[in-house]
Subunit: 209 residues, 4 copies
DNA sequence: GATGAATGAGGGTTCATTCAT
DNA sequence: CATGAATGAACCCTCATTCAT
């Protein structure tokens, strides 16, 4: 119960990470210096190193944090409605919303994320955030299974591979839409949203009966 | 008529770009310095700037080069066989092969590629390579159309959106497979290749009758 | 009320600027590198950038500093004695002393000095030093006016043009004497000082009755 | 008589120096690279080093060349008219014209010019150009002496010191006028030319009876 | 004689990180 | 605990100069 000492630390980590997030969002990770983060957060540069081992860990922390948000989004998406397709589309929207909010992280999902969970985590509580990825997967497993139960989703699919496949494909699709918006508008006279809807629908076909 | 003396330049550009590619591949573009490239290529740092205006142009050159390769791979994939599905799988393989050979570029495909074709190109011949992207699209258009003619591919798809959707999705899938290979093996007891095959098949469903 | 902690900064700025001055003096501004300044000052190169935004600001700081000194010298010269001619010669001596101490800056006086007072100043206090130039002019205006009152200086001269003319001419004379000392000794068998006295006297003629 | 071989060299040196002059004029000496000079002159970079030992010698050559021009200007100024004051003002104009044409060199006159006439000169003929400075002095000596004969110039002046004094002062004045034109216009509502006339007249006072 | 090719040496600047206090 | 101060290491890039051909 006597855990007073730990709370304050989290507050500082939060403050720093919020500042960092804003800057990463505006200028990218590589182009944001620790100095800038310190100034934005209202701490001294050295203090950042009290709360985060180094820049890499700060980034890692942010990635983890953002995953919690994604979990919330997906969780809400599934709860929001009943129908399988409706849910699917809501999940897609959740990912899109997430990409729009955390684009800097989104691109990292497809790249290698090197988070060494042995050495990186500062506070033990945070180790639990690692599980968020798993939790998201579980959410998706449940979604697929319930869709199979209603007969809307093919019963011969393998669940885990399907989830990862979707994860990769949706990420790629959303990212492409984000980066090539202009090109898409020009070449196929579609808005980003129209293009994405088309892609979402197409992918849905692959798992339905 | 043929201008002599132009060949040697290309040789050096080739040497430098090969060295750069290797390093970009190992450490990423941002983390590879011109000094390292110079050392790897066996030239002095200053010499690099004789053959490439700056680092950006070097990267741009590499991207262009790799696109040519991708075009070749896809072109060969389509020619290699006749059946629609066979061709589709060959195209997937081509992209995979390409990703394995040029991973550093592959991630750029999904990001914004800023190539200023007015100022970047060293040799005028290279300007044509800009068209390679378009040519790849044309290849894919033909593939889809021929599949529609045989009745294997749904006739109600929109061609351009479909191509871009595929492009984004396959990129995402391949990238995920590359980066999460270990995780995939652990969680679903599949090799990277098995996982990819599963994903490729799944996506194929979405465009077939 | 007085903010502590500001003093130390000035000490470092002083140290760095002293080192820079010496080197600029020996080799010119363009030929003096920040590395050399750092070594001479006993700091690391990076530390220079803690105290000066860039080389330009360092130069600007030096120019400003030297102007303050010149103001002091001229101010003291005028106060030191009463007679118009005595004062005139003291002013000449002040300029000479200044040139000998800050030769690198002296040549800049005749060139265009680009000091952007919005962006350059590190400490707000320094902005006031911009006024030093004006203050020197005021000193000289007073000197001329008092000489006109005593009837020693012609009353038909235009004050401001006269001051600027003198400024330019004395600068040119002193600089020539400094740079051609050997030649002067050889050709006219005069020491630098004798030559300058001759020139000072000659110029004085032009404003006296 | 058989000197065919030497002519071509001079042509190349001329071509190069003309190109260099133009660029120095536009961008200053330090900011003009040998590459740019080579391109402007239509030679390869390496060829520049065939005709000039290094950049320094090229600059030295230009300085020398420009001195010849100055000699011509002053010579013509003296010949152009008869009266002492008229001649004086023409000489001032000659210097001004020279400064406007060769500003980059003009500032060097007051600085130390390091021309090592033993090692620098490429062609022996050029060594004579060193004498140009002396010749200019002679011109001025004659001018002063003829003015003294007519009784317009004080007979108690020392000729050589006077000449050097004038040289330094006029240089300083002209340079100040060139660099502070805007400031002069603002502060004393005089055009550069008006200001200079004022200064020229003032200085004339000092040598007249 | 003329040059294409190559480079050593150095330029200014940035930044993540450390450490004494 | 928080930080002011300091820096090593790198970064991209430039340029005068050399030399084999």
């Amino acid at each position: 119960m006597a855990r007073r000492k730990k709370e304050p630390q989290n507050i500082h980590r939060k403050n720093i990470s919020i500042a960092a997030e804003q800057l990463f969002l505006q200028k990218g990770i590589k182009n944001t210096s620790m100095s800038e983060i310190a100034k934005e957060a209202g701490y001294s540069k050295a203090t950042l190193y009290v709360y985060f081992k180094n820049k890499e860990e700060l980034v890692g922390f942010l990635v983890l944090e953002s995953m919690k948000k994604l979990h919330d989004y997906i969780s809400q998406a599934i709860m929001k409605c009943d129908g399988t397709k409706e849910r699917y589309l809501e999940i897609c929207s959740a990912m899109l919303k997430y990409q729009e909010e955390y684009p800097f992280y989104f691109s990292m999902v497809l790249e290698t994320i090197n988070i060494d969970f042995e050495t990186t985590n500062f506070l033990p509580e945070e180790k639990e955030t690692f599980l968020v990825g798993e939790q998201i997967n579980e959410l998706l497993v449940e979604f697929l299974q319930s869709g199979m139960l209603t007969g809307e989703i093919r019963s011969d699919i393998e669940i885990l591979p399907t989830i990862f496949t979707f994860w990769g494909m949706l990420s790629g699709l959303i990212q492409m839409a984000a980066n090539k918006e202009a090109y898409i508008g020009q070449q196929m006279r579609k808005s980003k949203m129209e293009f994405l809807d088309y892609g979402f629908e197409m992918l849905y076909e692959s798992i339905t009966v």
